[in-house]
Structure formats: structure tokens, C-alpha cells
């Protein structure tokens, strides 16, 4: 079946291409009878406008890009769900790109999106990302950019995050109240402001309770499960923390594995607490005290800001910086 174009419809109906185009776009000038005829035939032949011709002509592609560190992750997959919902409702197509926590890949992807392929970009930074020139270039180009979760304050764009400082402080205090004195802090990055905020929440809680900040208890991990396993094992053996605060879900999983292999008991020997969107956290052995982020809602709101900016040609000023609340769910891994 050959592609059906405006031209073909025009020939079939003995009308000009522009009349067809206008009918399909419900132009007020066109005779209703003509319109009906055109629409009927278009439907019958399942006419689908060529998106590239339209994009070339009109500018605007009704497409957004989502750049993520990874997708096999409860937080990000929930966020995509929210993104896709709002995008679909507003008629946007969603392109997905994964950086795998690789800064160079992130730059590369950003550079390839400067050509009009997308009308806007949603992004969560890779853990390696420190330099933000690639994002500045995007903004200079006038491509709307909204960051979420892994954001940066050094970039002039709206963003959606959670109350990382407050909830981390609260979580750390919970550990202290439960009797912990040597709390280790695990994170994925030393660069991201989200990591910094979580860390500051942690350290501020320590200070408030007159506990010293011990550098040896602060561990930066990577994308490699094996490396993380070894480093966490080393941490537990050498430093003997009585609690671990994992700032990322996957690290908590590894902690469970290490603790199990070392034949230690949670929470007696060591308490564990983590940011996590695991649906069955309550059925883990022991159930995991979690900081649950509203991932779906983060995705929704970020996309909503983006699509509005695309529609109106600019962001609302001042730039929206939305902070949603996370929830601390206390379970058996800490009490």
C-alpha cells in the first residue's frame, strides 16, 4: 500500500492540495460540504500526515526528549510513566536516551538534540556530570529544558525535585534516635547538587546531635555492582558502622547482599535506610526503611512545565523550581 499524501487526495477529489490541507486543518473558509468530503476520504484511506514535512515547514516537531542515567530503576521507570502520560495527553512524542551515568555520552546526546529534532528536553543528570556547558548551549539555542531529580543549581532552567535536604536530615535523625552513632553515608556522585543536599541533610543531623562527621564513613560509589559490593564490604569490615544511609536504592540492595554474606544481622548489627521506590520494600527481610519519592508525580510535573513552555514559547518567570515531598517509611531495617 503506497503512502497516501495530500497530493493524492487532491487528485482523487479534483481539488487543489491547499484545499485539502485546509479542510483537514478545519480552516474556517472552506465550504462545509467540501470539508466533509475531504475528511471522509482521508479517514477511509487512513491518511496520516507526514510528520517530517510538517516539522520542516512549521518548525516544531511535537516531540520531546527524555535523557536519563538509566531506566532499569524503579525511580526512573515510574518517572517515565508520568512523563509519558502528560506527553501523550498533550500530543507529544517521547524520545528516550540513556547516558548510563556517562558524562561524555550525555554531552553527545545533548549536542545531537540541537538541530530541531525535539521541541524540548527533560533530563536527570548523570552522576559524573560536573561541567554543564552542554546544557548552556541547549538553553542558548532556545530549546526548553526542564531538569528533574538530579538537577543542578548552576543551570538556568526550571526543575522538579524532592525535599532532599529535609528528608535526609529527618532520616538521619531517625537513625540517631534509634541509637546509631556511626552512620555511614553512601552516594553515587560527588558532583550533583542532589547528592550534596542529601549529604548536607545527613551532616546537619549529625551536628545537631553532636556527632562527628567521619570522612571514612562517607563513600562515593559507582555504576559497577561488583566495585560497589567490594567497597561496601570494605567499609563495613574496616569501619564497622552501626548504620548505613544509602542515598540510592541500588546501593541498599548491595548493602543487603554484603551484610548477608558477612553474616551480620539487620538491624541488630547494622541498621539500613535508603531512598527507594521499591514496591515490595515492606516484604524484604528485614523490611526496608525507605525514603519514598513521588516519582510518577515528578515526571508529570516536569513534563507539564515543559509542554507549557513549548506551547507559550517561553517559561513562566520566575523559573519554576518545584519541590515535592518525599515520605520516610520506617520499617524493620532500622528498629
Amino acid at each position: 500500500m503506497a503512502d497516501i499524501t495530500l497530493k493524492k487526495l487532491a487528485e482523487l477529489l479534483n481539488l487543489s492540495i491547499s484545499t485539502i490541507s485546509r479542510s483537514l486543518n478545519d480552516d474556517y473558509q472552506i465550504n462545509q460540504t467540501t470539508k466533509d468530503k475531504v475528511i471522509a476520504l482521508a479517514k477511509e484511506l487512513n491518511y496520516q500526515p507526514n510528520p517530517y514535512a510538517g516539522s520542516l515547514r512549521k518548525k516544531g516537531s511535537k516531540t520531546i526528549a527524555v535523557i536519563l542515567p538509566e531506566v532499569a530503576n524503579n525511580f526512573f521507570s515510574l518517572a517515565i510513566d508520568g512523563i509519558e502520560e502528560v506527553a501523550q495527553k498533550n500530543g507529544f512524542h517521547v524520545l528516550i536516551y540513556l547516558t548510563h551515568e556517562n558524562y561524555l555520552k550525555e554531552v553527545d546526546i545533548a549536542n545531537h538534540l540541537m538541530n530541531g529534532r525535539v521541541d524540548g528536553i527533560l533530563m536527570s543528570l548523570s552522576s559524573e556530570t560536573n561541567n554543564l556547558e552542554h546544557l548552556d548551549k541547549l538553553i542558548e539555542k532556545g530549546i526548553p529544558l526542564v531538569l528533574f531529580d538530579r538537577v543542578s543549581d548552576k543551570i538556568n532552567s526550571p526543575h522538579v525535585t524532592t525535599d532532599d535536604f529535609e528528608v535526609s536530615q529527618k532520616a538521619t535523625e531517625h537513625l540517631i534516635t534509634a541509637g546509631s552513632k556511626k552512620i555511614a553515608f553512601l552516594s553515587l556522585s560527588r558532583y550533583l547538587s542532589i547528592a550534596e543536599k542529601r549529604f548536607k541533610g545527613y551532616s546537619s543531623a549529625l551536628k545537631k546531635h553532636d556527632l562527628d562527621l567521619d570522612e571514612k564513613l562517607i563513600v562515593s560509589l559507582t555504576n559497577s555492582l561488583e566495585e560497589n559490593y567490594e567497597n561496601i564490604k570494605k567499609l563495613i569490615i574496616e569501619e564497622k558502622p552501626d548504620a548505613i544511609f544509602a542515598s540510592v536504592e541500588s546501593l541498599a540492595m548491595t548493602v543487603y547482599e554484603v551484610v548477608n554474606d558477612l553474616k551480620l544481622k539487620i538491624p541488630n548489627d547494622i541498621k539500613v535506610l535508603s531512598f527507594s521506590n521499591l514496591r515490595i520494600a515492606s516484604f524484604l527481610a528485614p523490611s526496608l526503611t525507605s525514603i519514598n519519592q513521588p516519582a510518577f508525580e515528578i515526571g508529570r510535573q516536569a513534563t507539564s512545565i515543559l509542554t507549557r513552555a513549548i506551547k507559550y514559547g517561553k517559561f513562566e518567570t520566575p523559573l519554576e523550581k518545584i519541590i515535592l515531598k518525599s515520605e520516610l517509611q520506617i520499617r524493620n531495617s532500622t528498629v
Copy 2:
């Protein structure tokens, strides 16, 4: 910063547009010095070809679509990971569409992809999908389509699945050997051939061990967590099965919730086994006996078949029907 086009480069260098185009495409006829000059300037100005102009002209968009029932799901998010990897390596952009297990949405999405937006489609059917005309139309249009996991034998396309019948039979036999006599079977759909294969594996194991197939133990569930909770609760209370075989991970999660609320014990009161790609299945209380599918590899292979078909303009014949092996991991929920 205004967009930089071939025309602009041509003006700047006092060359014709086609010379610029050819230089950038490394045409053999062009003088090396000219080429170098053009390439240097293009790089300096960060020239990015307009993808829509190219697609309009050349046909082919270097874009594939992935149509999925959902993404907040360990299986599908791992599959996306594999898809994205192969796509990126072959220079393809990945559009993602979610059907939320809704047949009409699936049809709608398929219809909107018949206009050249994508060069090919990867798809896993929604649980509601019974009629496949929308896919036939795609194939008629000449758009390469590769199904994975949730496939259908009624459609003339390559696909990638796992050994659903064999592993389901093996899993059911494992339950029988462990002493179960009333094994309930939970699934999401009565239409999909994958559901049928898993069911047949289950029923064939029953027959082999002279156990009767009891219709009341076969339950079709939906997309709604609440409904599923109630239906599973009803099943357990009324039929008192001594084991449950969940053919989808999310159903196993709900089973854990129901069993817990009913104050029953796994595996003593009731054994549980499920298809699942949960990384921490071994840390559940009790650890979950799982059928683990190679989700990442499924995504990779499906994409590899698709990109090859796009490259060569047709699928290899006979159509590839790849079957990868799943792995039954026996844990405490069944022994």
C-alpha cells in the same frame, strides 16, 4: 543563536549548497582542501543537520518506536535498556509509547506510526489485545515489526520470546514435587499466546502428575491493583489453594500482600512461585522462587533483528523466531 544551515555555510564559504552537502557527506569527488575547510567551519559553528529535512528527502528517519504495555516493571525496563543499547549503537533514535494494557490505545498508537515517523517498530502486546488488524496494516505498509515477549503467532513477523511453555511446566512440576496438590494459576490475559503457553505448561504438568485441572483455580486478573487484591483474596479464602503460580511479577507482589494480611505463612500454608525479574527476590520474606527471564537480552536481540531488517530493506527469511531460555530459581517461597 540562529540555526546554522547548509545555506549559511555556503554563503560564508562562497560555495554552493551542494558542495557543502557533499563535503559533509564525504563525497569522493570533492577536493580534499575544500572538504577540510567545510568540515572545519561546520564543526566550529556546531552545524547539526536538520533531521526532518533529511528524513523528508531520503525517506527513513533513523528512528524506531517501542510500544509497551507499561514501563514501571522490571521486565520491561530491562528490555528497554537492551533496546536502547543496540539502537544507540546503530544510530537509531528510540520513541517510546505506553498502552497501559489498553487495546484501543495500542491501535491508536499503531495507526499514528503509519506515516513514516519511524523506520521500524518493536512491540509487546497489551493484555487486552485480541484482534491484530492494526499490526497487519503496519506490515502491509512495509514497516518492519518485531514482537517480543508478549507476541502472537497469528502475526507474520519475527519475534523474540522465552521458553514459556517449558519453564512453566518445569516450575509447576517443582511445585508438585514439593507436595502441592491444589495449584492456582494467575495470569493477566486470556488472549495472549504467551499467557496461553504459560498456562499450557502449567496444565501439562498437572496432567503428567494426574492432577485435575480445576477451573476455579485459574484466575485472570487486570491492570488494577485493588481489583487484583480482592480477587486473589477471594481465591485464597474460597478455594484454599496450597500453591500459587503467578505468571506475572506484579501479581506475586499482590499475593504476598494478601497472604500477609490473611496471616497465612509462605510456604507452609501456601507456596508461591512467579515469573519475576526482581533483583532482590532473594531478600524477600520469604525469598521468592522465580522464573527469571533474560529481559535485557530479549531487548537486544529484538532490536538487532529490527535494525538489520531496516538496513537491508527486508527481514531474513524464514522469519526469525528466537526463543531464549528462562531460569527457574528455587527459593524459600516453595520449599
